[in-house]
Protein backbone atom coordinates (compact mmCIF):
# COMPACT_ATOMS: atom_id res chain seq x y z
CA UNK A 1 0.00 0.00 0.00
CA UNK A 2 1.41 3.31 -0.94
CA UNK A 3 1.81 5.66 1.92
CA UNK A 4 3.35 9.01 2.48
CA UNK A 5 2.69 12.69 2.57
CA UNK A 6 1.32 12.76 -0.98
CA UNK A 7 -1.48 10.25 -0.56
CA UNK A 8 -4.96 11.80 -0.46
CA UNK A 9 -6.70 12.25 2.88
CA UNK A 10 -9.54 10.01 1.79
CA UNK A 11 -9.52 7.65 -1.13
CA UNK A 12 -12.64 5.60 -1.75
CA UNK A 13 -12.67 3.17 -4.61
CA UNK A 14 -15.84 1.28 -5.45
CA UNK A 15 -16.98 1.19 -1.83
CA UNK A 16 -19.98 -1.07 -1.44
CA UNK A 17 -21.91 -1.98 1.67
CA UNK A 18 -24.66 -4.48 1.09
CA UNK A 19 -26.67 -6.98 3.03
CA UNK A 20 -28.48 -9.48 0.90
CA UNK A 21 -29.65 -7.53 -2.10
CA UNK A 22 -30.00 -4.26 -0.20
CA UNK A 23 -27.21 -1.90 -0.97
CA UNK A 24 -26.61 0.89 1.53
CA UNK A 25 -23.59 2.00 -0.49
CA UNK A 26 -23.13 1.17 -4.13
CA UNK A 27 -19.71 1.61 -5.69
CA UNK A 28 -18.87 4.92 -4.05
CA UNK A 29 -15.63 6.39 -5.36
CA UNK A 30 -14.02 9.73 -4.69
CA UNK A 31 -10.72 11.23 -3.72
CA UNK A 32 -10.32 14.04 -1.25
CA UNK A 33 -7.06 16.01 -0.87
CA UNK A 34 -5.63 16.73 2.53
CA UNK A 35 -6.99 19.83 4.27
CA UNK A 36 -10.27 19.75 2.37
CA UNK A 37 -13.74 20.12 3.86
CA UNK A 38 -16.21 17.73 2.30
CA UNK A 39 -19.95 18.13 2.75
CA UNK A 40 -22.09 15.10 2.02
CA UNK A 41 -25.68 15.77 1.02
CA UNK A 42 -28.52 13.42 0.34
CA UNK A 43 -32.03 12.47 1.31
CA UNK A 44 -32.83 10.19 4.23
CA UNK A 45 -31.61 6.68 3.69
CA UNK A 46 -29.16 7.73 0.99
CA UNK A 47 -26.30 6.08 2.85
CA UNK A 48 -24.61 9.19 4.24
CA UNK A 49 -24.26 7.84 7.76
CA UNK A 50 -23.27 4.42 6.43
CA UNK A 51 -20.52 6.08 4.39
CA UNK A 52 -19.23 7.85 7.51
CA UNK A 53 -19.37 4.61 9.48
CA UNK A 54 -17.45 2.76 6.79
CA UNK A 55 -14.83 5.50 6.52
CA UNK A 56 -14.42 5.62 10.30
CA UNK A 57 -13.92 1.80 10.41
CA UNK A 58 -17.05 1.18 12.46
CA UNK A 59 -18.48 -0.88 9.62
CA UNK A 60 -16.54 -3.11 7.27
CA UNK A 61 -17.39 -2.54 3.62
CA UNK A 62 -18.70 -5.50 1.62
CA UNK A 63 -16.59 -4.57 -1.34
CA UNK A 64 -14.24 -1.95 -2.68
CA UNK A 65 -11.33 -0.22 -1.05
CA UNK A 66 -10.91 2.86 1.05
CA UNK A 67 -7.90 4.43 2.64
CA UNK A 68 -7.19 7.35 4.93
CA UNK A 69 -3.88 9.12 4.32
CA UNK A 70 -2.67 6.06 2.49
CA UNK A 71 -3.66 3.58 5.18
CA UNK A 72 -6.06 0.92 4.02
CA UNK A 73 -9.14 0.69 6.21
CA UNK A 74 -9.70 -3.04 5.96
CA UNK A 75 -6.06 -4.08 6.11
CA UNK A 76 -4.91 -1.87 8.95
CA UNK A 77 -8.06 -0.79 10.75
CA UNK A 78 -6.28 -0.07 14.03
CA UNK A 79 -3.79 2.26 12.36
CA UNK A 80 -6.59 4.00 10.50
CA UNK A 81 -8.61 4.41 13.70
CA UNK A 82 -5.81 6.49 15.17
CA UNK A 83 -6.28 9.02 12.36
CA UNK A 84 -10.01 9.47 12.81
CA UNK A 85 -12.03 11.76 15.04
CA UNK A 86 -15.81 11.74 15.11
CA UNK A 87 -18.26 14.37 16.26
CA UNK A 88 -21.82 13.19 16.01
CA UNK A 89 -25.20 14.37 17.24
CA UNK A 90 -24.60 12.05 20.20
CA UNK A 91 -21.91 13.40 22.49
CA UNK A 92 -20.20 10.02 23.22
CA UNK A 93 -19.50 11.38 26.70
CA UNK A 94 -20.42 9.74 29.99
CA UNK A 95 -22.90 12.12 31.65
CA UNK A 96 -21.88 11.21 35.18
CA UNK A 97 -18.19 11.84 34.69
CA UNK A 98 -16.72 15.32 34.61
CA UNK A 99 -15.56 16.95 31.40
CA UNK A 100 -11.97 16.40 32.41
CA UNK A 101 -12.48 12.73 33.30
CA UNK A 102 -14.23 12.09 30.01
CA UNK A 103 -11.41 13.62 28.02
CA UNK A 104 -8.76 11.88 30.12
CA UNK A 105 -10.48 8.56 29.48
CA UNK A 106 -10.23 9.00 25.73
CA UNK A 107 -6.73 10.48 25.93
CA UNK A 108 -5.50 7.43 27.85
CA UNK A 109 -7.25 5.00 25.53
CA UNK A 110 -5.60 6.63 22.53
CA UNK A 111 -2.26 6.70 24.31
CA UNK A 112 -1.71 10.44 24.18
CA UNK A 113 1.74 11.11 25.63
CA UNK A 114 0.88 13.68 28.31
CA UNK A 115 -2.86 13.26 28.84
CA UNK A 116 -3.26 15.86 31.60
CA UNK A 117 -1.57 18.62 29.67
CA UNK A 118 -3.35 17.75 26.44
CA UNK A 119 -6.76 17.72 28.11
CA UNK A 120 -6.09 21.03 29.86
CA UNK A 121 -5.05 22.60 26.59
CA UNK A 122 -8.17 21.34 24.80
CA UNK A 123 -10.55 22.47 27.53
CA UNK A 124 -8.91 25.87 27.35
CA UNK A 125 -9.38 25.90 23.60
CA UNK A 126 -13.11 25.13 23.77
CA UNK A 127 -13.49 27.67 26.57
CA UNK A 128 -14.61 25.26 29.26
CA UNK A 129 -11.56 25.15 31.48
CA UNK A 130 -13.54 26.64 34.36
CA UNK A 131 -16.17 23.88 34.10
CA UNK A 132 -13.73 21.00 33.87
CA UNK A 133 -14.71 19.57 37.27
CA UNK A 134 -18.45 19.57 36.53
CA UNK A 135 -20.29 16.47 35.41
CA UNK A 136 -21.21 16.54 31.74
CA UNK A 137 -24.81 15.92 32.81
CA UNK A 138 -25.01 19.53 34.08
CA UNK A 139 -23.92 21.04 30.76
CA UNK A 140 -26.17 22.65 28.18
CA UNK A 141 -26.40 21.03 24.76
CA UNK A 142 -24.03 23.59 23.29
CA UNK A 143 -21.43 23.08 26.00
CA UNK A 144 -21.69 19.32 25.68
CA UNK A 145 -21.07 19.63 21.97
CA UNK A 146 -17.98 21.74 22.67
CA UNK A 147 -16.61 19.06 25.00
CA UNK A 148 -17.43 16.63 22.23
CA UNK A 149 -15.19 18.61 19.87
CA UNK A 150 -12.39 18.41 22.41
CA UNK A 151 -13.01 14.68 22.72
CA UNK A 152 -12.78 14.15 18.99
CA UNK A 153 -9.54 16.10 18.78
CA UNK A 154 -7.84 14.60 21.81
CA UNK A 155 -5.50 12.40 19.76
CA UNK A 156 -4.95 15.05 17.10
CA UNK A 157 -6.72 13.20 14.28
CA UNK A 158 -6.01 14.05 10.69
CA UNK A 159 -9.51 13.36 9.48
CA UNK A 160 -12.57 14.52 11.42
CA UNK A 161 -16.06 13.28 10.67
CA UNK A 162 -19.05 15.40 11.61
CA UNK A 163 -22.36 13.51 11.66
CA UNK A 164 -25.25 15.98 11.89
CA UNK A 165 -23.35 17.99 14.50
CA UNK A 166 -25.91 20.80 14.61
CA UNK A 167 -28.95 18.84 15.68
CA UNK A 168 -30.33 20.33 18.87
CA UNK A 169 -28.05 23.38 18.89
CA UNK A 170 -29.46 26.90 19.12
CA UNK A 171 -28.15 29.61 16.72
CA UNK A 172 -25.71 31.00 19.25
CA UNK A 173 -24.28 27.56 19.98
CA UNK A 174 -24.00 26.91 16.25
CA UNK A 175 -21.98 30.11 15.89
CA UNK A 176 -19.56 29.06 18.63
CA UNK A 177 -19.36 25.56 17.16
CA UNK A 178 -18.49 26.94 13.72
CA UNK A 179 -15.80 29.20 15.14
CA UNK A 180 -14.26 26.27 16.98
CA UNK A 181 -14.27 24.09 13.91
CA UNK A 182 -12.75 26.92 11.91
CA UNK A 183 -9.99 27.36 14.49
CA UNK A 184 -9.14 23.66 14.39
CA UNK A 185 -9.06 23.44 10.62
CA UNK A 186 -5.26 23.74 10.30
CA UNK A 187 -4.37 21.07 7.76
CA UNK A 188 -6.99 18.65 8.99
CA UNK A 189 -9.50 17.12 6.65
CA UNK A 190 -13.18 17.42 7.55
CA UNK A 191 -16.13 15.43 6.33
CA UNK A 192 -19.59 16.60 7.31
CA UNK A 193 -23.03 15.10 6.89
CA UNK A 194 -25.77 17.68 7.21
CA UNK A 195 -29.31 18.33 6.13
CA UNK A 196 -28.71 22.07 6.04
CA UNK A 197 -27.90 22.67 2.40
CA UNK A 198 -26.90 26.33 2.62
CA UNK A 199 -24.72 25.86 5.67
CA UNK A 200 -23.05 22.72 4.43
CA UNK A 201 -22.36 24.39 1.12
CA UNK A 202 -20.95 27.54 2.71
CA UNK A 203 -18.44 25.63 4.81
CA UNK A 204 -17.20 23.09 2.33
CA UNK A 205 -14.46 22.98 -0.23
CA UNK A 206 -15.89 19.86 -1.87
CA UNK A 207 -19.47 18.65 -2.15
CA UNK A 208 -20.72 15.11 -2.55
CA UNK A 209 -24.33 14.19 -3.25
CA UNK A 210 -25.49 10.69 -2.48
CA UNK A 211 -28.77 9.09 -3.44
CA UNK A 212 -29.69 5.49 -2.79
CA UNK A 213 -26.11 4.67 -1.97
CA UNK A 214 -24.67 6.05 -5.20
CA UNK A 215 -22.61 9.14 -5.88
CA UNK A 216 -24.73 11.56 -7.87
CA UNK A 217 -22.15 14.29 -8.02
CA UNK A 218 -18.77 15.00 -6.53
CA UNK A 219 -16.99 18.26 -7.26
CA UNK A 220 -14.82 20.94 -5.68
CA UNK A 221 -16.91 23.92 -4.67
CA UNK A 222 -15.20 26.41 -6.95
CA UNK A 223 -16.63 24.53 -9.91
CA UNK A 224 -20.13 24.84 -8.51
CA UNK A 225 -22.69 27.57 -8.34
CA UNK A 226 -24.96 27.40 -5.30
CA UNK A 227 -28.20 27.84 -7.25
CA UNK A 228 -27.32 25.14 -9.75
CA UNK A 229 -26.23 22.92 -6.94
CA UNK A 230 -29.44 23.49 -5.00
CA UNK A 231 -31.37 22.67 -8.16
CA UNK A 232 -29.42 19.44 -8.61
CA UNK A 233 -29.94 18.57 -4.97
CA UNK A 234 -33.69 19.10 -5.18
CA UNK A 235 -33.88 16.81 -8.17
CA UNK A 236 -31.93 14.16 -6.31
CA UNK A 237 -34.09 14.38 -3.24
CA UNK A 238 -37.12 14.26 -5.48
CA UNK A 239 -36.12 10.98 -7.04
CA UNK A 240 -35.01 9.42 -3.82
CA UNK A 241 -38.04 7.67 -2.42
CA UNK A 242 -37.61 7.88 1.32
Amino acid sequence: MMSGPDSPAILACGLTKAFGTRKALDRVSFELPEGAFLSIFGPNGAGKTTLLRVLSTLVRPTGGKASLCGIDLTEEPDKARGLVGMISHQSMLYPDLTAEENLLLYAELYGVSDPKARVGELLEAVGLAHRRLDAVRTFSRGMTQRVSIARALVHDPRVVFLDEPYSGLDPHAIEIFDELIESTRADRTFVMVSHDLAKGFAMCTHALVLARGRVVSFAPKDELDFDDFAQLYRETVGMGVA
Binding site: M86, S91, M92, Y94, E108, Y110, R158
Partner: protein, 248 residues
Protein backbone atom coordinates in the same frame (compact mmCIF):
# COMPACT_ATOMS: atom_id res chain seq x y z
CA UNK B 1 4.53 3.33 14.56
CA UNK B 2 5.91 5.42 11.76
CA UNK B 3 4.75 8.95 11.99
CA UNK B 4 3.60 10.77 8.93
CA UNK B 5 4.24 14.34 7.95
CA UNK B 6 2.26 15.75 10.81
CA UNK B 7 4.09 13.59 13.30
CA UNK B 8 7.16 15.79 13.25
CA UNK B 9 5.26 18.94 14.10
CA UNK B 10 5.70 20.11 17.70
CA UNK B 11 2.03 19.81 18.62
CA UNK B 12 1.93 16.10 17.97
CA UNK B 13 0.38 14.13 20.80
CA UNK B 14 0.74 10.65 19.42
CA UNK B 15 2.63 8.33 21.65
CA UNK B 16 3.15 4.64 21.08
CA UNK B 17 -0.12 2.73 21.10
CA UNK B 18 -0.88 2.03 24.76
CA UNK B 19 -0.62 -1.54 25.92
CA UNK B 20 -3.73 -3.66 25.98
CA UNK B 21 -3.43 -3.93 29.73
CA UNK B 22 -3.36 -0.19 30.28
CA UNK B 23 -6.41 0.20 28.05
CA UNK B 24 -8.11 -2.49 30.11
CA UNK B 25 -7.28 -0.61 33.30
CA UNK B 26 -8.57 2.65 31.84
CA UNK B 27 -11.89 1.12 30.82
CA UNK B 28 -12.31 -0.64 34.14
CA UNK B 29 -11.46 2.53 36.07
CA UNK B 30 -14.07 4.39 34.01
CA UNK B 31 -16.81 1.94 35.02
CA UNK B 32 -15.80 1.96 38.66
CA UNK B 33 -15.53 5.73 38.82
CA UNK B 34 -18.91 6.15 37.22
CA UNK B 35 -20.46 3.72 39.67
CA UNK B 36 -18.69 5.36 42.57
CA UNK B 37 -20.14 8.68 41.50
CA UNK B 38 -23.77 7.62 41.03
CA UNK B 39 -23.94 4.42 43.10
CA UNK B 40 -26.79 3.57 40.79
CA UNK B 41 -26.10 -0.13 40.26
CA UNK B 42 -25.05 -0.94 43.78
CA UNK B 43 -28.03 0.74 45.43
CA UNK B 44 -30.55 -0.71 43.00
CA UNK B 45 -29.05 -4.20 43.23
CA UNK B 46 -28.70 -3.99 47.01
CA UNK B 47 -32.27 -2.86 47.56
CA UNK B 48 -33.52 -5.47 45.13
CA UNK B 49 -31.64 -8.17 47.04
CA UNK B 50 -33.21 -7.00 50.27
CA UNK B 51 -36.65 -7.03 48.68
CA UNK B 52 -36.17 -10.58 47.47
CA UNK B 53 -35.24 -11.58 51.03
CA UNK B 54 -38.44 -9.94 52.28
CA UNK B 55 -40.44 -11.84 49.67
CA UNK B 56 -38.79 -15.04 50.88
CA UNK B 57 -39.91 -14.11 54.38
CA UNK B 58 -43.51 -13.92 53.23
CA UNK B 59 -43.25 -17.03 51.10
CA UNK B 60 -41.74 -19.13 53.89
CA UNK B 61 -43.67 -17.54 56.76
CA UNK B 62 -45.96 -20.48 57.32
CA UNK B 63 -43.47 -23.23 56.71
CA UNK B 64 -40.29 -21.80 58.18
CA UNK B 65 -40.42 -23.79 61.39
CA UNK B 66 -40.86 -27.18 59.85
CA UNK B 67 -38.56 -26.41 56.99
CA UNK B 68 -35.08 -27.76 56.64
CA UNK B 69 -33.50 -24.43 55.79
CA UNK B 70 -30.08 -26.00 55.61
CA UNK B 71 -31.18 -27.93 52.53
CA UNK B 72 -33.10 -25.05 50.98
CA UNK B 73 -30.60 -22.31 51.82
CA UNK B 74 -28.20 -22.89 48.92
CA UNK B 75 -30.99 -22.78 46.37
CA UNK B 76 -32.69 -19.73 47.84
CA UNK B 77 -29.40 -17.89 48.02
CA UNK B 78 -28.71 -18.54 44.35
CA UNK B 79 -32.18 -17.43 43.30
CA UNK B 80 -31.40 -14.20 45.07
CA UNK B 81 -28.06 -13.85 43.28
CA UNK B 82 -29.41 -14.74 39.83
CA UNK B 83 -32.21 -12.20 39.92
CA UNK B 84 -30.10 -9.47 41.47
CA UNK B 85 -27.34 -9.89 38.90
CA UNK B 86 -29.90 -9.97 36.11
CA UNK B 87 -30.92 -6.51 37.23
CA UNK B 88 -27.35 -5.25 37.35
CA UNK B 89 -26.29 -6.80 34.05
CA UNK B 90 -29.26 -5.30 32.27
CA UNK B 91 -28.18 -1.86 33.39
CA UNK B 92 -24.46 -2.28 32.75
CA UNK B 93 -24.66 -1.15 29.12
CA UNK B 94 -27.30 1.53 29.61
CA UNK B 95 -24.66 4.26 29.93
CA UNK B 96 -22.74 3.03 26.93
CA UNK B 97 -25.79 3.11 24.70
CA UNK B 98 -27.26 6.36 26.02
CA UNK B 99 -24.93 8.96 24.54
CA UNK B 100 -23.32 6.71 21.95
CA UNK B 101 -20.27 6.15 24.15
CA UNK B 102 -19.90 2.60 22.85
CA UNK B 103 -19.26 4.03 19.41
CA UNK B 104 -16.72 6.43 20.84
CA UNK B 105 -14.84 3.52 22.37
CA UNK B 106 -15.08 1.43 19.20
CA UNK B 107 -13.44 4.31 17.32
CA UNK B 108 -10.34 3.94 19.50
CA UNK B 109 -7.70 1.55 18.19
CA UNK B 110 -8.15 -1.19 20.75
CA UNK B 111 -8.78 -4.89 20.73
CA UNK B 112 -12.52 -5.53 21.09
CA UNK B 113 -12.05 -8.27 23.63
CA UNK B 114 -10.52 -5.70 26.00
CA UNK B 115 -13.96 -4.14 26.20
CA UNK B 116 -15.39 -7.53 27.11
CA UNK B 117 -12.79 -8.22 29.77
CA UNK B 118 -13.09 -4.77 31.34
CA UNK B 119 -16.87 -4.91 31.44
CA UNK B 120 -16.85 -8.45 32.82
CA UNK B 121 -14.42 -7.45 35.54
CA UNK B 122 -16.59 -4.47 36.47
CA UNK B 123 -19.67 -6.66 36.62
CA UNK B 124 -17.87 -9.26 38.75
CA UNK B 125 -16.86 -6.54 41.19
CA UNK B 126 -20.38 -5.11 41.41
CA UNK B 127 -21.92 -8.52 41.91
CA UNK B 128 -19.37 -9.46 44.56
CA UNK B 129 -20.03 -6.17 46.35
CA UNK B 130 -23.73 -6.94 46.45
CA UNK B 131 -23.11 -10.51 47.58
CA UNK B 132 -20.93 -9.29 50.42
CA UNK B 133 -24.03 -7.56 51.77
CA UNK B 134 -26.72 -9.99 50.66
CA UNK B 135 -25.19 -13.23 51.94
CA UNK B 136 -24.79 -12.05 55.57
CA UNK B 137 -28.31 -10.62 55.41
CA UNK B 138 -29.59 -13.94 54.17
CA UNK B 139 -27.78 -15.67 57.01
CA UNK B 140 -29.13 -13.15 59.50
CA UNK B 141 -32.76 -13.56 58.44
CA UNK B 142 -33.01 -17.28 57.81
CA UNK B 143 -30.18 -19.28 59.27
CA UNK B 144 -29.40 -17.97 62.73
CA UNK B 145 -31.93 -20.34 64.27
CA UNK B 146 -29.92 -23.40 63.28
CA UNK B 147 -26.49 -24.56 64.36
CA UNK B 148 -23.90 -23.53 61.79
CA UNK B 149 -21.92 -26.23 60.04
CA UNK B 150 -18.16 -25.67 60.30
CA UNK B 151 -17.95 -25.99 56.52
CA UNK B 152 -20.06 -22.86 55.93
CA UNK B 153 -17.13 -20.59 54.89
CA UNK B 154 -16.54 -22.92 51.94
CA UNK B 155 -19.52 -21.36 50.15
CA UNK B 156 -17.13 -18.58 49.13
CA UNK B 157 -15.70 -20.84 46.41
CA UNK B 158 -18.95 -21.60 44.55
CA UNK B 159 -20.04 -18.00 45.00
CA UNK B 160 -16.87 -16.71 43.35
CA UNK B 161 -16.92 -19.24 40.51
CA UNK B 162 -20.59 -18.69 39.85
CA UNK B 163 -20.25 -14.92 39.90
CA UNK B 164 -17.41 -14.91 37.39
CA UNK B 165 -19.26 -17.16 34.96
CA UNK B 166 -22.52 -15.27 35.30
CA UNK B 167 -20.77 -11.92 34.81
CA UNK B 168 -19.00 -13.16 31.66
CA UNK B 169 -22.06 -14.70 30.03
CA UNK B 170 -24.19 -11.79 31.20
CA UNK B 171 -21.82 -9.19 29.75
CA UNK B 172 -21.93 -10.90 26.38
CA UNK B 173 -25.70 -11.22 26.43
CA UNK B 174 -26.36 -7.69 27.61
CA UNK B 175 -24.20 -6.41 24.77
CA UNK B 176 -26.58 -8.27 22.48
CA UNK B 177 -29.74 -7.17 24.23
CA UNK B 178 -28.83 -3.49 24.45
CA UNK B 179 -29.67 -3.33 20.76
CA UNK B 180 -32.99 -5.15 20.99
CA UNK B 181 -36.53 -4.23 21.81
CA UNK B 182 -37.74 -5.16 25.32
CA UNK B 183 -34.13 -5.44 26.55
CA UNK B 184 -34.79 -6.67 30.07
CA UNK B 185 -37.06 -9.54 29.12
CA UNK B 186 -34.73 -10.50 26.30
CA UNK B 187 -31.78 -10.64 28.67
CA UNK B 188 -33.62 -12.94 31.07
CA UNK B 189 -34.80 -15.20 28.25
CA UNK B 190 -31.23 -15.73 27.05
CA UNK B 191 -29.41 -15.54 30.37
CA UNK B 192 -31.23 -18.11 32.48
CA UNK B 193 -30.96 -21.10 30.10
CA UNK B 194 -27.32 -20.33 29.36
CA UNK B 195 -26.24 -20.13 32.99
CA UNK B 196 -28.36 -23.12 33.99
CA UNK B 197 -25.51 -25.68 34.16
CA UNK B 198 -23.43 -23.25 36.18
CA UNK B 199 -26.32 -22.55 38.49
CA UNK B 200 -27.01 -26.25 38.95
CA UNK B 201 -23.40 -26.96 39.87
CA UNK B 202 -23.09 -23.97 42.17
CA UNK B 203 -26.33 -24.72 44.01
CA UNK B 204 -25.15 -28.29 44.61
CA UNK B 205 -21.79 -27.15 45.96
CA UNK B 206 -23.28 -24.39 48.08
CA UNK B 207 -25.88 -26.68 49.57
CA UNK B 208 -23.19 -29.22 50.40
CA UNK B 209 -21.14 -26.57 52.18
CA UNK B 210 -24.11 -25.21 54.13
CA UNK B 211 -25.33 -28.62 55.22
CA UNK B 212 -21.80 -29.83 55.99
CA UNK B 213 -22.77 -33.45 56.43
CA UNK B 214 -20.24 -36.20 56.77
CA UNK B 215 -19.47 -36.74 53.09
CA UNK B 216 -20.03 -33.14 52.04
CA UNK B 217 -16.93 -33.02 49.85
CA UNK B 218 -18.53 -35.61 47.52
CA UNK B 219 -21.15 -33.02 46.67
CA UNK B 220 -18.78 -30.09 46.78
CA UNK B 221 -15.59 -30.76 44.86
CA UNK B 222 -16.96 -32.32 41.69
CA UNK B 223 -19.61 -29.65 41.02
CA UNK B 224 -17.07 -26.94 41.73
CA UNK B 225 -14.61 -28.40 39.23
CA UNK B 226 -17.36 -28.66 36.63
CA UNK B 227 -18.47 -25.11 37.31
CA UNK B 228 -14.88 -23.93 36.77
CA UNK B 229 -14.75 -25.86 33.51
CA UNK B 230 -18.00 -24.28 32.36
CA UNK B 231 -16.66 -20.84 33.24
CA UNK B 232 -13.51 -21.41 31.23
CA UNK B 233 -15.32 -22.73 28.14
CA UNK B 234 -18.06 -20.10 28.14
CA UNK B 235 -15.70 -17.20 28.83
CA UNK B 236 -13.47 -18.34 25.98
CA UNK B 237 -16.39 -18.64 23.57
CA UNK B 238 -17.75 -15.22 24.60
CA UNK B 239 -14.30 -13.69 24.34
CA UNK B 240 -13.86 -14.99 20.81
CA UNK B 241 -17.33 -14.01 19.64
CA UNK B 242 -17.43 -10.64 21.35
CA UNK B 243 -15.89 -8.78 18.42
CA UNK B 244 -18.83 -9.74 16.18
CA UNK B 245 -21.42 -8.81 18.75
CA UNK B 246 -20.03 -5.45 19.76
CA UNK B 247 -19.35 -4.24 16.22
CA UNK B 248 -22.74 -5.29 14.90
Amino acid sequence: MKTTKRGDSPNCHFAAKPSTFSQYKTLLAKDLRQEFRTREMLTSMGIYALLVIIVYGAALALTANGLDIMKMGGGLLWVLIVFTSLLGLGRSFAHEKDQGCMEGILLVPLDRSVIFLAKTTANVLFMLAVEVIAVPLFYFFFMTGQPVAPTLPAIVAPLAVGTIGMAGIGTMLSTITMNTRAKDVMLAVLFIPLIYPLLYACVTATTAAIAGTEFWTDYFVMPLVLACGYDVVMLLVCWVLYDFVVSA
